[in-house]
Structure formats: structure tokens, C-alpha cells
């Protein structure tokens, strides 16, 4: 019985980490797997670091939170500081290589530390808006929790109504998944 994969995603309020976690969780659920996703939340409506806790497995999931993630993704300076506690000897710690001045905060006990240029790729190759979808691609690839196609289906389900109007958006999102996957593919 394989243990559930434990994922942490953290970023600033506007970076869309909660959507990423929710879509992955839904994709896994659609596939018949067990998934549990819980966001952090607090008194501020905007402004705090946003953290998503996600677990996917084949048995009912235990506690909704956990001490150590299999993959921890930090998308901002504050997110790195906030999530370093979740790294352990089995953790792949991913962060955006565009974040400056966090060298000292990167966990040293992780199995692997993986800076990826997601912001840059989003800005230069695709569109800043799909930054979080690139991250989604990366997470899916790194963890194998759902096949890429499932993720695309889940995006389709969520944003299909927008894609109808603007089919280019679909392409953009799907490309973002692929590029995200590529970013980690080599490194793992």
C-alpha cells in the first residue's frame, strides 16, 4: 500500500497556488484516487502567504496537514521562509529561480532543491497569467499524482467556458502544463 504523496504549494495571495492545488486534487478525484486538499486561511482577506496542503493516494487520507512534504513548492520570498519547515530528507524543494536573496532560507536538509524559472518562462514564452499553470505542470510531473492529460481535462472542466470564447487560451494553458513538466523533467 503506497503512502499518499504530500504536496505543499505556497505563494503570495495573487499567485494562484490554491487554484493549482484544487485543480490537481479534483483531477485526482476524477481519476478515482483519494485526494485531500486544504488551504491555510486567516484573518486577512489578502496579504498573507497562501499555503496549500495537498495529499493524493489510493487509500483514504489521514490527517489533513502533515509535517513534511514530498514536494514543497515556494513561489515567493515569504513563501520560502514560511515553507522551509516542511522540508525533510525525502523532500524535493522547488522554488522560482527568479526570487532573489533567499539563498540562506533554502532548506539544507531536503533530498533535492530545485530552482525553476517559472516566472521567467511565463513572462517571456507564454503569459504572466499562466504562471500558476506552469507550476501545476511541474508539480504533476515531479509527483506523478495524475497524468498530464487528466490535469488538462480538469482545466478544461474549470475554464472550458472561457476557452469556448477564446480557444487560444486553451492552447496557452495546455502549453503551460507541458512547459512546467519540462522544467522539472530534466532535473529529477
Amino acid at each position: 500500500m503506497a503512502k499518499a504523496v504530500k504536496i505543499i504549494l505556497a505563494g503570495e495571495g495573487g499567485q494562484g497556488v490554491q487554484s493549482v492545488a484544487e485543480i490537481i486534487a479534483e483531477a485526482a478525484n476524477e481519476q478515482g484516487r483519494e485526494a485531500l486538499y486544504i488551504p491555510n486561511f486567516g484573518v486577512e482577506q489578502r496579504g498573507g502567504v497562501s499555503v496549500a496542503y495537498l495529499q493524493i493516494g489510493d487509500e483514504p487520507i489521514g490527517a489533513p496537514k502533515f509535517l513534511t512534504g514530498d514536494i514543497v513548492v515556494a513561489l515567493s520570498d515569504r513563501a520560502v521562509h514560511r515553507t522551509r519547515q516542511y522540508a525533510g530528507p525525502e523532500t524535493v524543494f522547488v522554488y522560482d529561480s527568479g526570487i532573489e536573496g533567499v539563498e540562506d532560507a533554502i532548506p539544507t536538509n531536503a533530498k533535492k532543491v530545485l530552482p525553476i524559472p517559472a516566472i521567467e518562462v511565463a513572462k517571456n514564452e507564454l503569459h504572466p497569467r499562466v504562471f500558476n499553470i506552469i507550476i501545476m505542470g511541474a508539480v504533476i510531473k515531479a509527483t506523478g499524482v495524475v497524468p498530464e492529460q487528466r490535469a488538462k481535462d480538469a482545466i478544461e472542466k474549470k475554464l472550458g467556458y472561457k476557452f469556448e470564447k477564446n480557444p487560444k487560451l486553451r492552447e496557452l494553458n495546455f502549453k503551460a502544463i507541458d512547459r512546467g513538466a519540462e522544467l522539472v523533467a530534466g532535473a529529477l
Binding site: V43, E44, Q45, R46, G47
Partner: protein, 252 residues
């Protein structure tokens, strides 16, 4: 030193940027309040109470002694302080939910007893902190999380007109006004008069401020201003509603 932001002297610098959302009117009301405190020179005597609601995010906002209390209970906490030490200038800061819903018994009774405190109430037509539920002040037709199809006045009435209610139960000595973040100079003036009324031992003073909540209104900047300037003023008349005057004896 280079140019520095034009913050009121009574603001606490090291807690800025503050914790309110982008475009939140709380920041503007607190700017007006800060300026009023500065101009009156009462930073040393003022005690600031903030409610639960987004106003709690101001618990370390000023260089003024501050107590963050329970949802709706700022009025009694500040009343308690003022009664115990009348030298203090008590300022109770709260939202429309805290003041007109869960804390309305405190508001109307403090007003009726003519407590010598100043209540500043931020009307953003809904419950900001909890994510945008209907408030007593929600506008007819306004969609909120608990009026998802728009507030229906047939079922839940019209927006509460707080200052008008407060004016109706206060007697001589009270000050009651409604300002708006769309007119900050005026708002600051109202707040200043309210505080002066307290300083002079006059009586209860109350300022409602029409305010913005882009987060829960889901508005962009243009819509935000439009809502506060055009929509809200349809129900909420800006201006002074009651100013301290000579005692009216009996029967009025």
C-alpha cells in the same frame, strides 16, 4: 533623509504597509482619524479600541494605546475605559456588522446614556473579514455571499441607517454625522468634531464612514469609486445629522 510618505504623525511607521487589502477604505478612514488625532494633539490621551472585523487589522496601526476586542464589543470596552478614567479620549472603531448587528445593543444604549466616547463605524455594506456576507447595510439588490441573488428588501428590509437611528435616541450634547472616504477632508472634519465633542465633555459622538471593500465587492478601482459615490449615497446621506446644541428639556 529623503522624501518620506505623508503619514499622520500618530501612525505607527513600523507596521506599515498596513494589513488591509489593496484599495480598502479602512486605510482612508484611519488616515482621516490619524490626521484628526494629530491636529487635536491627543495622541497621549487617546485610547483606541478596534472590533473584530477587518478593523482588527488596525490593532497595531497607531502610536496610540490600542485594545482589540471581540466582535461587536468595542463600544462597551471603550465605555468601560472612559467611565473608569474620564481623562482618556475613547475611540471605538468598528464595522457595520460589529456596530449595527451584533453590537447594536451596545451602540444604542451607549448613545442613549450619552457615553462620552467617540464611535467611528466603517460602512462597507457587508461583512468584510468573513468574506462578504450580507450586513444590515447591504444595498437592495446587492449580491453578497448570503444574498447570492441580491438583497431583497421584501424579505430582509432596507439598509440600516445607523446615524439616523443614533440621532433619534440621543439628546443634547451628541454629535452624529455620516462621512465618506470619497470626501476625506470632510470626513476628517467630522471625526475631528466628534473628538472635540468628547474632549469638551459634550457627549456621545458618532461618525459613520461610507467605505470601500474592493475585495468582497469584486470591483476594480473605477467600480469601487462608483459604488461608494453613486450607489451608496442613494441610501446613505452624507452630512452632519446632529450637532451639539442647547439642552432640549423634556418631551422631545
Amino acid at each position: 533623509m529623503s522624501v518620506q510618505p505623508a503619514m499622520p504623525k500618530s501612525w505607527r511607521l513600523d507596521t506599515k504597509p498596513h494589513k488591509f487589502c489593496p484599495g480598502c477604505g479602512h486605510g482612508l478612514v484611519l488616515k482621516a482619524l490619524g490626521q484628526a488625532i494629530d491636529e487635536l494633539g491627543i495622541q497621549d490621551r487617546a485610547v483606541f479600541g478596534c472590533d473584530i472585523g477587518c478593523s482588527l487589522l488596525s490593532w497595531d496601526f497607531f502610536n496610540v494605546d490600542t485594545i482589540q476586542t471581540h466582535h461587536g464589543r468595542t463600544t462597551p470596552v471603550v465605555t468601560g475605559m472612559k467611565r473608569a478614567n474620564p481623562n482618556l479620549i475613547g475611540i471605538a472603531y468598528m464595522g457595520d456588522g460589529g456596530g449595527y448587528a451584533i453590537g447594536s445593543q451596545h451602540l444604542v444604549n451607549a448613545a442613549a446614556r450619552n457615553e462620552r466616547i467617540t464611535v467611528i463605524l466603517v460602512n462597507n455594506t457587508q461583512y468584510g473579514m468573513t468574506g462578504g456576507q450580507m450586513a444590515p447595510t447591504t444595498m437592495p439588490g446587492q449580491k453578497t455571499e448570503t444574498s447570492p441573488y441580491g438583497r431583497d428588501p421584501e424579505k430582509t428590509g432596507y439598509p440600516t441607517q445607523g446615524p439616523e437611528m443614533v440621532a433619534a435616541i440621543t439628546k443634547e450634547g451628541a454629535y452624529v454625522a455620516r462621512g465618506t472616504v470619497a470626501n476625506l477632508r470632510q470626513l476628517k472634519g467630522f471625526i475631528k468634531k466628534a473628538l472635540e465633542n468628547q474632549i469638551n465633555g459634550g457627549g456621545f459622538s458618532f461618525v459613520e464612514a461610507l467605505s470601500t471593500c474592493p475585495t468582497n465587492w469584486r470591483t476594480n478601482a473605477e467600480e469601487t469609486w462608483n459604488f461608494v459615490e453613486k450607489e451608496m449615497t442613494k441610501y446613505f446621506k452624507v452630512g452632519e445629522i446632529k450637532v451639539p446644541g442647547p439642552r432640549q428639556e423634556e418631551g422631545n
